[in-house]
């Protein structure tokens, strides 16, 4: 493609600016204000001028940038395309993408932590060093054990980053730079990771669209809330129960929709989410309606309570350990619980992928008809995918209830479902690392923009569109095989 001549580009930018003018008039140019005399129309034409100017300049720059890219792509196309090289590049890209976490986190801390930004970078560097060290160590130990490590550079890079990220996550609450806000935010990120991992089973692995995932979250939360309210059960008993109840609803949901395909699933699952919310909102007798359920007990550690005044029959953590009471202990404990849950979920799902159950999910996503021709029961696969996905949602819900101590229907609107789905799709369908990155992005981006609180959702929406247009397959769109054939004797 030849570069476009300047006049053409100017014309293009002028057209875009013209369109911007049309679009800007009724919303930016004119606005209505309620007064005693009814609505009065006011205007702010200077804003329109700015908007039009910005669009003109932006379009011009975008065009230039695109030309440059096209020229480079052209040169590349002329080179020989090497498949193995392509794969290697993809793996390295993966490593870099994970490194992105290492980028967004310090930026965040630099803005919010002030001076502690230096500390956090130090911590990250140390984590990374340990990660790489362990990996190099592995390179020596494995051959010694006669388990030859054939991993490529990219894979090892990824692994090193993962170890580093895990280390960073585990140590986060104990670090000097962590305060209430940071730990709390970390907990939120982890909840969304857990939700993303769950939905990733249904959408990413099994390829079954679900726009009502928040229902499982809600069911998990209310299961705990109500079980503790009516039967006095504590968190550790309710956690598995909530998961099971949510999984049960997953089965229930999957039954009417077994025959539906693709987009029809979207509306039915959306309906399921809305029905759940509306029922919770209106079944006052059971759920307390819009007032929600409060006084949900906090989780304890083997009978130790993190409250200042422990409930009947419990001993408080600060008395036993003698380190004095601090509200932060509870937050740290909650953070570690959800971190453990996330690790467990990631491990289980990763494991399932390489088992017949999980492989059948992926096969189902790829081609349902071929599945049937190989003796796989698609019904069983679909039901299990919704059940396992739902169960993860249930765990997340139960934890959410324990953390807040209060649940109300407000937390479970459609926007939550959309956000969780966005985490799965933005991350790259089926990719667990992708879920982690996207969850960080989705939770932290609005926080970063708190100064522009009013505009952050606008930016957020735009960012979603931009990422999709830029990488339609999600940030990490390469699939990691579950098993590899080593070429012995080949």
């Amino acid at each position: 493609m030849a570069t476009v001549a300047l006049p053409t580009r100017l014309k293009d930018a002028a057209i875009a600016a013209g369109l911007a003018l049309v679009l800007a008039i009724p919303f930016i140019g004119l606005f209505t204000v309620s007064t005693d005399q009814g609505l009065v129309v006011n205007s702010r034409w200077s804003w329109v001028a700015w908007a039009v100017g910005l669009v003109f300049a932006g379009r011009l720059l975008l065009g230039a940038g695109r030309d440059a890219l096209a020229a480079r792509a052209n040169r590349k196309n002329n080179e020989h395309i090497d498949l193995t090289n392509h794969h290697k590049n993809n793996r390295i890209l993966r490593g870099i993408a994970i490194g992105f976490v290492v980028f967004i986190v310090p930026v965040f801390f630099l803005i919010y932590g002030g001076a502690s930004g230096i500390q956090i970078i130090l911590a990250l560097v140390i984590c990374l060093l340990i990660g790489f060290f362990l990996d190099i160590l592995g390179g020596f130990v494995l051959p010694a054990l006669k388990k030859v490590d054939r991993s490529s550079v990219g894979t090892r890079l990824t692994r090193a980053f993962m170890v580093a990220a895990l280390l960073f996550a585990v140590t986060l609450p104990f670090m000097p730079y962590s305060d209430r806000y940071i730990i709390d935010l970390g907990t939120t990120v982890l909840i969304y990771i857990l939700l993303g991992l769950g939905l990733n089973v249904t959408v990413g692995l099994a390829g079954l669209l679900d726009l009502g995932f928040v229902a499982f979250y809600a069911i998990g939360a209310y299961s705990f809330a109500l079980l503790s309210k009516f039967f006095g059960l504590d968190f550790w008993v309710c956690l598995p129960l909530s998961g099971l109840i949510a999984a049960g609803f997953g089965v229930l949901l999957s039954l009417p929709i077994l025959r539906l395909r693709g987009d029809y699933l979207a509306i039915v699952t959306l309906g399921f989410g809305e029905i759940t919310r509306i029922v919770i909102l209106n079944w006052q007798g059971l759920t307390g309606g819009p007032n929600g359920v409060s006084g949900i007990p906090r989780p304890g550690l083997f009978g130790l309570s993190f409250e200042r005044r422990p409930p009947e029959g419990m001993v408080s953590f600060h008395e036993v350990t003698g380190i004095g009471f601090s509200g932060e202990h509870r937050l740290m404990f909650l953070y570690l619980i959800v971190l453990a849950l996330v690790c467990l979920a990631a491990w289980v799902i990763n494991r399932l992928r390489a088992l017949p159950v999980g492989r059948a999910w992926e096969a189902l996503r790829e081609d349902e008809i071929a599945c049937r021709s190989l003796g796989i029961n698609p019904t069983a696969s679909k039901v299990s995918a919704y059940a396992i996905g739902g169960m993860m949602g249930g765990f997340a819900g139960c934890f959410f209830a324990a953390r807040q101590g209060f649940v109300s229907p407000e937390s479970f609107g459609f926007i939550e479902s959309a956000l969780i789905l966005a985490i799965v799709v933005l991350g790259g369908m089926g990719s667990q690392v992708g879920v982690v990155i996207a969850a960080l992005f989705i939770v932290m981006l609005p926080e970063l923009g708190r100064e522009f609180a009013d505009y952050r959702m606008i930016v957020f929406g735009l960012a979603m569109i931009t990422i999709m247009v830029w990488r339609p397959g999600g940030l990490l769109s390469t699939r990691v095989p579950t098993v590899k054939l080593d070429q012995k004797g080949a």
Partner: protein, 309 residues
């Protein structure tokens, strides 16, 4: 059934038809877009909301300019709202969906959700988050029946909504069935590549489909503004969801199906609210939808797709 019960029934019927007509108009936008590019245009509810906001601004502007003749004001508002809303519909497709042709199936959906979030907040920021009350434009109505202990009436605005919808539906059916544009649209639905090879400008046809969908959404926005007299930036979400339900219920991809689905959802809501409970009316519509899909997986008027092996 005694007379007053019958009267109540008929009153719910009229209310339901009015509501259903509006849902139907929005549902057509979903169904046309789905038919041609197989994607759920999640931002369509927002397009309708934009139509309603333009209507409010224009009504207020006309009032301040002293245009008081209702028919003239109405015509102007409809035209202005259609113009701006169509521009938004066109731009949404151009920015958020066109670059994603041929992308994995869920990419346009996420892009659409992003667009929906953007438009909602954009309108909230530029127009304020408080609801906009509008002075009634059309007052009065016709009493169809009075006596025997009940009155049955239809307001002018209800009559206007039902009639206008009817006219638009007929016009659209003609447009799709008889004109070259309609033919191009149907060709693109069947096989976009082939249509392109035969000289149909596929991009333009898709753009026009969005413009047409936005046009009907704009009309729905104007009608809702007049009917309820108050709007806010959040109305698009709920209406969009209902209309989407309607489109699927009727069989997504089918124009008459969208209208039928809209009417059914409107009637279910009106009757369920009237006879059972307003709180659970959405549960009722969704349950009907799920029940229908269990037995007819492609909706009421949708073409059953035969599984090709």
């Amino acid at each position: 059934m005694d007379a007053s019960a019958l009267g109540t029934f008929l009153q719910y019927l009229i209310n339901g038809l009015t509501l259903g007509a509006i849902y139907g108009l929005i549902a057509i936008g979903y169904t046309m877009v789905y038919g041609i590019i197989r994607m759920i245009n999640f931002a369509h509810g927002e397009i309708y909301m934009i139509g309603a906001f333009v209507a409010v601004t224009t009504f207020s502007l006309l009032a301040s300019l002293g245009v008081t003749a209702v028919p003239l004001a109405l015509l102007l508002v409809l035209l202005v709202s259609i113009f701006f809303t169509a521009a938004y519909g066109w731009t949404v497709e151009r920015i958020a969906y066109r670059p994603l042709r041929g992308a994995p199936k869920l990419a346009p959906l996420i892009s659409a959700i992003g667009m929906s979030i953007f438009l909602q907040n954009y309108v909230m920021q530029t127009q304020g988050s408080r609801p906009k009350p509008l002075a009634p434009v059309m007052n009065g109505g016709i009493t169809l029946w009075n006596g025997d202990g009940f009155t049955l009436s239809i307001s002018y605005i209800q009559l206007f909504i039902i009639l206008l919808t009817l006219v638009l539906m007929l016009g659209f059916t003609q447009l799709i069935g008889r004109t070259a544009l309609g033919r191009a649209q149907r060709a693109c639905e069947q096989d976009r590549t082939m249509a392109g090879l035969l000289g149909i400008n596929v991009d333009r046809t898709i753009s026009l489909t969005f413009v047409m969908g936005a046009t009907l959404a704009a009309v729905a926005g104007v009608l809702v503004t007049m009917y309820y007299g108050v709007i806010d930036f959040y109305i698009g979400f709920l209406a969009g969801m209902k209309a989407f339900t309607a489109a699927v219920l009727g069989g997504i991809g089918s124009l008459p199906g969208a209208m039928l689905g809209g009417l059914l959802i409107g009637l279910i809501e009106a009757f369920f609210t009237g006879y059972i409970s307003g709180a659970y009316k959405d549960v009722a519509s969704f349950s009907v939808l799920i029940a229908v899909l269990v037995f007819r997986p492609t909706g009421l008027l949708g073409r059953p797709d035969i599984e090709k092996v």
